[in-house]
Amino acid sequence: MRIAYYPGCSLKALAANFDRSARAAMGALGVELVELERWNCCGTVSSLTTDDLMRQLAPVRNLIRAQEAGERRLVTACAMCYNTLKRAALRVEAHPEELAKINAFLDEEPDYRGGVRVLHLLELLRDEVGFEAVAKRVVRPLEGLRVAPYYGCLLLRPRGVGLDDPENPSILEELVRALGAEPVDSPLKGQCCGSYHTVAHKEVVARRAHKILSEAASRGAEALISSCPLCSFNLDNRQRLIRELDGSFAPLPVLYFTELMALAFGLEEALSPEGHYVDPRPFLEERQLLRR
């Protein structure tokens, strides 16, 4: 299967390991992620005022790119891009009059005609590839590995945009199980990591991350998986600050879900130390899930 892929800015820089592992893991499942040509930043964080049509230009432009390429679907790995693109797509679908205005404004572009579906990799795995096929592809079952799924906000909320039940999601758990590992349920798995406050309120984010990580660890998690470069940054890199605030805090590796897949698929090369503050490899080696 070939599918149009929107990597987004972060996956081209700080979260290159997310991009790399996503391509490798999906490739192993026979899904080729074809990068959209000339994509631009999705705009991040949906604007929320009633008069924010201008803010929809960036995401709609990407939908136009997909349309140009003759694609009906556009898949993302980054939860933030997913949320922003999907909200825009749903909105113009529901409000043709707004779409007309956007089209008129983007006069250098061909008109967007609607109909491009924005998908997250996880949805593709659940609804098309199927977790059974994922399980079949596993060469190194992650037996005994206790992994806490972390959803954060943007995979789940608001309702209608999220890809699972916002109060009781299960898609990451199913993936973890398919890979042979054991999901650890934490009540904070859908709570916000602090998001962009990492820019100006580092301590706020550190306190959030501390709570989320400790809760998972107290329930026996050995690692946490995420689907968003910003969540990963906050939960992983901010551990430095957490250690300053709480000397007893034990580091917890944070992986992208695609890295966990790559590991179970035996694609070790996709799992590199870059992109991680807490290097997951020593721990995985110790658990004999990674060759030394």
Partner: protein
């Protein structure tokens, strides 16, 4: 929190502008407290999200001075739970926008350190905190 309004708005103007920008009926709030209860930042805030609603209903313009509106990260936890269907994240955004559109930014980009941050963090921060 400063009692003096940063900007000159009457109670009615505040209410109307919030409702217009957010598209939400803030007066439907009956104070169940669920928004605060689920808000991951509530402990960092000077006003709880529910109090923000009450301040608007009472036309208290000093709500614009509160730390809360900048601490809200639009995580939508409150939004998906409000029994009265108030999208509180949008109400918070409206309050931020009332300030941002009058040039009251909350982030000084120059003050940021050297740290390498994810691109989406920078763009998102700029979008939410700078007019």
């Amino acid at each position: 929190m400063d009692k003096m309004g940063k900007i000159d708005l009457s109670a009615k103007e505040l209410q109307e502008e919030v409702e217009a920008l957010s598209g939400q009926r803030v007066f439907a709030c009956y104070h169940c407290g669920k928004c605060t209860a689920g808000c991951p930042f509530a402990s960092e805030m000077d006003l709880t999200p529910r109090q923000v609603l009450e301040y608007i209903m009472e036309g208290r313009v000093e709500v614009l001075n509160s730390r809360t509106i900048w601490l809200c990260a639009a995580c939508f936890t409150c939004t998906v739970r409000c029994p009265n269907g108030i999208d509180i994240a949008r109400v918070m955004e409206a309050l931020r926008q009332i300030l941002l559109r009058r040039g009251e930014d909350s982030l000084d980009l120059a003050s940021l350190g050297e740290e390498e941050l994810p691109q989406i963090a920078l763009v998102a921060g700029a979008r939410k905190l700078i007019g």
